[in-house]
Structures are given as C-alpha cells and as structure tokens.
Symmetry: C2
Subunit: 481 residues, 2 copies
C-alpha cells in the first residue's frame, strides 16, 4: 500500500501489466502462440504430426481397435469429481441457456460415459482428439492449454492381465517405432499403492491427497514431496518416512517376489491382490518379449482419481543428445492403467464395465521430433505436389489451364502459378523452393509439334513426350522415384 | 392461467417437461445423441467419415494445399461482427479469468486471423476440423451443434479468377469423386448482388439484411422471402418486386452477356465489375471442362458478411432415389467465395490479403452416404484385423501370446480372445461376425510338429504351414486378396 503511493500512476499500470502478463505472452519465433495459451499449427507442424499420428493409429489398428469420437464438450456434471486435485483446470462454457457444459479434459471419461450411455459391455477402441486444460503452459516443454491425445482402451470383463499386457505391448511398439531412443515403462498397481499407504499408517481419508503427492516424485526430490505431505497435507513424519522406504524400490519381477515377503505389505489383502496380478502380468510380458522394458516401481502413483488396478508410465531413458542438441526434459511420453469403476459411475444402476487403457503423450513426442529436426537442419516438404505446369511464353494461360486439368483428372498432384504471364525462371524457382520433382513445359513449339517437355528439377534434364503419352510417362516416373 | 388451475399438479409437471424438452432429446436408434445437441460418433460413423475425408483431403493435396490447424477457441473479439445475423449462435467460454474466449464458428475467420498475425501474404491451405454453433439441430437432416468442416482456401494477390476457377474445379472433383449423383454449382458475385440492390432502390443500410433474406430463397418460396423483406425489414414493395424480377434469372455464360445489356444493372459500376469477372471465370471453367456444371444464379446471395466477390454453392440435383430410399432434402453440399477484406480486419495497419475458398459440407455428405448404406443394408467392418490367433485346446494361452506377438512385430493386424481357455467355436464365430479373413490355429499337434494351421474364414479350408514360414505365407495371402 505504501509503495503504491510512491509510484506515478502510469508506471504502476505498466508494472502491473507486466506482472499480470501470463508467461506465454512473451513467446516469439516460429511458433506464434496466441495469448490464451494455445497456438496455431503451421504446415510444418502438421507434416510432423501427420507422420507420428499415422504410426500411432496404425499400431492401434494392428491391435484390432475401432475408431470413435465424442463431442468436444460434455455436461459439466459428467466431468466433475473424476480428476482429483486437477479438476480446477477444466474449461467451462458460458451459461447461454440449456445445460452447463465443459470442454473435455481427457478422452477416458467421455469413453466411460459412452459405454454406460449405450450399454456397451465390450469394446476395443482408439480415439485421437483434442483436450483442453487451463494449465499455466510451460512452452519450452511443449505444453499448451489445447493438446492432442491418442488413447487406446479395452473395455470388458476378461481373464486377468491379458488386455493389460497388450496395452504395455502397444506402448512398446509405438515407442520403438518412433525411434525416440531407449525407454522404460514403470509399472505399479493402485492396490499396492493403497496397501502401502495403509500399512505405513496413512489415514484412509488422505489416500488420494498423498497419492497425488507421490505422483510428483518424477519431477520433485523426495525431500520436497515429504515436505508437502507432512506440512501441507498433515501427514505424520514417521508415516512419511515409512512411505519413503517403499518408494525407493524399483526392479523387475524379483521385486514383486520380494514384496510378497515384505513383513508389512504381505499383511494387506489389497496389496497382495495387486502383487498377484503384477506377477501374472510379468509372465505375459515375458511371452511378448518386452519384460526387459518394464520396471516395477513403487514410486509410481498416477494422479488421476479413477485408476483402480495396474498403472504404468513410459519415460525416455536418455534424450537423444546428438551434436548440438539441447538436452530435453520431457517427462513421461505415455501412460495409462486400469479403471474398473469409472463406467459404473455413469450407469443408472451402477453396472460396472472393467477397463484398461493407455494414452500416448503425442504432444511431447511432436516436440522431441521437431527439436531433433531443427538441430539437424532437416527441412520438410509441406505439400505433396508432384508436377508443376510451366510455360516459357506469354499468353499461354489457356494451354496451362487445359493441361493442368488433364493432370488433376488423372489423379496427379499438380500446381501452376496464378499469373497470366509468369517468367520461366520464377516458375522453376518455385519448384526448387517447394521441392516439386517434375515440371511439364508447354510453349508454341511444343503446341505445334503435339508434344510436352518433361523436366526433372533435380537433374535439369528435359525430354519431349507426345502429349497423349504424358500422363502415363509422369506416372511411370513417379512410381520409379 | 385458467387452464393451469384445472390440471392436477403432476399432469402439469409432465406436460411442462414435455414442452421444455428440446426437440433433439427425443432421438433414438443407432445415433445416441446427447441432450446438448451433439452426438458421439460410433465406429460405424467413423469408418464412413474416414473414407470420405480421405477423398476430400487427397483432392486438396492434389491441388498443392498445405495442412494447418488453429485452436478450438479464439478470442471472442476475433469472431464478433464477422458472421452477420448468425453471430448469436456462437458458444462463449465462461469467464474463468484471462481473456474472453469463444468456440470457433467456422474455419475461415481463424485462417484470416492466422494470415494477419503471421504476416503471411500467400498461402494455399486446407483445414479439416470441428466447429460449433448453438443452432436448434434438425437431426433428421444431419445437423448438430458440433460439426466437421473441410476448407480449402487460396490467399494472395494473383491475376483475376484463376484461383477462383480452381476452387470450383476442386468442388467438381470432390462431388464427382464421392458419386453423390448429379450436381450443379450456382455462381454469383457479391458486387452483382449489391449492384442489383442499388439499382432496385434498396437503401445501402439495408444491403446486408436484404442479402440475408435473399439467401433463404433455396429454402423458402419467393412470396415468403418478399414478405420478410417488406414486413420485417421495411423494404418498399415495389423495390422488392424489382428484386423479384432479377432473382428468377439463372443460366450460363449467355446470362452474363444478357446482364451486361440490362438497362438498369449496366448503369452500376460494381455490378459491371462482377459481371466482367464472371465472364472471365466462365472462360476458365470451360478450359477446365466444367462449365456445364455451373449456373449463374442471381438468387444466390450467401449469408455471411465477409464475402466481397464471386460466391458459389453446390447443390445435389437429384437425390439418389433408389428403391426404398427416402427422399433426402440436404440443401447445399459445398459452398464458398471470395473474401478480400477479412484479413485486413485483423491487421493493425489494415493490410489486405485477398482470399478465395470453399467449404465442403461433409456432415451432409456423411449423412447421405450413411442413409444410402442403410437402405442397401450394407455392412461396414469397423476394424481392419487380418488374422485371428486361435486354439482348439485348453492351457494354450502362452503359445497364443507368443504367436500373436510375432504377428504384431511383423506388422500384421491380429487379434485373439482375452480368455485363458476360449472354445474354438466362439473364436471362429468372432472371426465371422467381425469379418476377419484368416485364422491361425495352434494346438498340441501343431506345436509338436512345428507347424501352424492357417484357415480361410470364407472357404473354411485349412492348411498346415511350417511355423518359420507363417508370416511370409500370411503376407502372401493378404497381398493376393
């Protein structure tokens, strides 16, 4: 109050506006982001995305998943009390009459709502779509308030751990396929987490809150997490320390065996169930040939409220540090787990449909791939044009239009300049700068002789082809290249 | 008030709830729509969509367009005063701190904002994405509050009518490619519309309002439109009648010539400019071989405020009325036009970037194709699974898991049942009901002999293949089919 009085009004306004400016308002460079924490995706972005999404979706289809989509917004009540501490980040729509609506926060809750609403008891589906969260975006790490999710889920009552193992197999296939470097999938079970809390002496009312603290262990040191649990969440220090002993543990199937023998944990029924399932899971993962990629990690908790069984999270082990690349801190690139109770929350009679699924953190993957291309100076073509229609002469627009229509009608990707009389050099330069491989050239001479010249942009070689053979010749050349 | 008193309270409540129920709450059947006027897209929908969108996008790419995307929401101020009378249908986000936001209403305004913000002077791009409008959806006609748009636009200063003609060529290619039956593209020019209003005596302040009435001529009879103009919008009856004479006119390039001679219209500078451009456009359309699909139609007005030149709208001429098909009233299936002023509205210095573009009404097209399939009783496969892994014996889960992992690792689309001991009949039935063409069968005998049986689901023939040749054999069979 005192200080305020000393500042001239205009200086104060300027200071205040700087303080209030959200961090993402200052971003510059190729990615023009909007002040609301979202951004446009340029053609360069889209090319990278299309390639990565194609790989992800084809893996989902390889595993027999069907596609589906749900609306961008849901009834607000559908989304409330599903996400734990993060619920405040939901975007609500303005009340303009009718129901209260919110933008979807993930693709899992809409899927559960869909199953319950349509009384679907069994379904293997994938869903690629945007979701929205009002987070403070850290743009450096590729986080925005609008982002794309790629989910695969298996709903239905099946024999234990078979679909769960397939989800982990899918994560491995995608992460290997994308060639992001070595990775590890941490696995745990919500029942083991809860059992651990119980035997350590956490009051049941604090389970979800402590779970959410534990979930931060990949970003925060144990001492800071401990501080949060004790000071902010009122956990007894000795209870926190008991948890501390467990969350240091990670290893393979032998750690599962070891935990079966743990004097405290083995007293807890829930934990034993979780351990039993993990043992079976490891057996299947071995048959799938991916057990070496999996680590049983007692520090893995997953923040979302709806998980009930196995949970998992994939992290890149070493970021690809090639010459000149900045080290990337990207956190987890895929995650998921079992949620057996969520569908029942939407069914009027509470009928449950057990589900297990995964989400690929494609935004982070886009970011990694884009950074890598930037470092390597790789250029991407943003169009797929195969042939350019050019002329060296004036007043040849009509012939160019007839010719390009012929190419389009034959399914050939073709462009020309939208000018009556463009210079030949301008036309050839356009091909070089946009990566078009072939040029067809029509002039007076060619028209008289009934031929068209084909020019290879790379070799600059030109040959004359009879006009009636043009399409066949282009198709031949394109199929060879 | 009187009547109310006579109704028992419960009956009144029931009546009221029926009256208050929005029309779309009563929809039933395959499309489970949500009460907010949106709907989920089932795997069946998605398969149809994917096929249609693939065709549309590949046409856009054939014409050299780049992909791009913008966020689902924009600053509210970006969208206001761009859409004329329909602006009230915008979805606003709740003010949760920060800027006021609205869901995008089309893809054109975000594109113009993108060009201005990034100072892009030239761009040919396509954009496929969802938009949202708070309309009362008429579900019968496939209208929802969330729907997909497919836009193609050419931005930049070019020689007249060359990009405009390409837009019409694209519309023809897509509508022919989709085999929706015969179609016609109505063409007009905003300058001709305005010129017509001027020479008929419409006060300039009423241009946009009268334009919006004229736009309804495809759904309403002239006498109703005339009534709206005279009674609701205060137009003098004799002015309305003069307009009435013009809007009955439609024809080919000869009508353009005729209008050049029109004693009133030929006095208007704007109209003459429009007519001159249309004449040139028809010349290019003839070279493209599509002039017979185009009709100069003086009743075409297009409701949106931002058009400044050529406008067009494609309509299906006859709905495909095959045996048992209900007649479909689908209205326009593609539309667009020139908007030379929109980008300048977003540029701080008002720099203009002329644009022309089109939007494919894919939702209507989805609806037509779905209805046609329904009538024909066509079934679509919602998965792409090629091979099913089966066993006739108990305790063969481990072998199935090893086998299916081998198939996945070879890129083969494969499924199995998530059961320890499924019955063979159940497994084979699954293949038949989901359309999987091949089954690989492993049992004790096969394991001992180092073979796998391959079964064709259609012919029920089975042959034994050496295990090491399995993947090659499957790939051979799949490439043949």
């Amino acid at each position: 109050m005192h200080l305020l009085g000393l500042l001239p009004r205009r200086a104060w306004a300027s200071l205040l506006s700087q303080l209030l400016r959200p961090p993402w308002a200052s971003c510059t460079g190729a990615v023009r982001c909007q002040s609301q924490g979202t951004r446009d995706l340029s053609p360069q972005h889209m090319v990278v995305r299309e390639k990565i999404l194609d790989l992800v979706i084809s893996c989902f289809k390889r595993h027999g998943a069907k596609g589906m989509d749900t609306p961008a917004f849901e009834l607000k009540e559908t989304l409330t009390e599903k996400y734990g501490e993060d619920s405040g980040l939901m975007y609500d729509l303005k009340d303009q009459g009718g129901e209260l609506l919110s933008l979807r926060y993930d693709l899992t809750v809409p899927f559960a709502r869909y199953l319950a609403m349509n009384k679907v008891k069994k379904m293997k589906r994938y869903h690629v779509g945007k979701v929205w969260r009002r987070e403070s975006p850290t743009i450096v790490q590729g986080r925005y308030r609008e982002f794309c999710q790629c989910d695969f889920d298996i709903a239905g009552q099946f024999d234990p751990m078979i679909p769960d193992a397939e989800c982990l197999k899918i994560m491995c296939e995608i992460l290997s396929g994308l060639q992001l470097g070595d990775f590890l999938i941490k696995v745990n079970d919500r029942r083991i987490v809860d059992g651990m809390f119980a035997v350590c002496g956490v009051p049941e009312s604090k389970f979800r809150a402590i779970c959410s603290s534990i979930d931060k262990l990949d970003k925060m040191a144990w001492k800071d997490v401990r501080h949060e649990m004790v000071v902010k969440k009122g956990l007894a220090p000795e209870v926190a320390d008991r948890i501390g002993d467990y969350v240091q543990c990670h290893g393979g199937v032998s750690l599962v065996e070891q935990m079966f023998q743990d004097p405290r944990l083995s007293q807890n029924k829930q934990a034993l169930e979780g351990l039993g399932d993990l043992k079976l899971l490891f057996e299947y993962l071995t048959l799938f040939g991916i057990a070496d990629k999996i680590s049983f990690d007692l520090s893995l908790a997953r923040g979302l409220d709806y998980y009930t069984g196995v949970i998992y999270e994939a992290v890149l082990l070493q970021t690809p540090t090639q010459a000149g690349e900045e080290p990337l801190n990207v956190g987890s690139v895929a995650a998921g787990g079992r949620y057996d109770g969520l569908v029942g929350m939407f069914d009027p009679k509470g009928h449950k449909v057990p589900c297990v699924g995964l989400s690929i953190g494609v935004e982070r993957i886009f970011y990694i791939v884009e950074q890598r291309m930037k470092t390597k100076g790789e250029k991407v073509r943003t169009t797929e044009t195969q042939v350019f229609v050019a002329t060296p002469q004036k007043n040849f627009l009509q012939e160019r239009l007839k010719l390009i229509a012929e190419l389009w009608n034959s399914g050939i990707k073709a462009e020309m300049l939208y000018k009556n009389n463009p210079k030949l050099l301008t036309q050839l330069h356009y091909c070089e700068s946009t990566g078009i491989p072939l040029v067809v050239i029509i002039g007076e001479q060619e028209l008289k002789e009934g031929v068209i010249k084909i020019r290879s942009v790379a070799s600059r070689e030109e040959v004359a082809i009879k006009r009636e053979n043009l399409v066949a010749e282009i198709q031949k050349r394109l199929s060879e290249s």
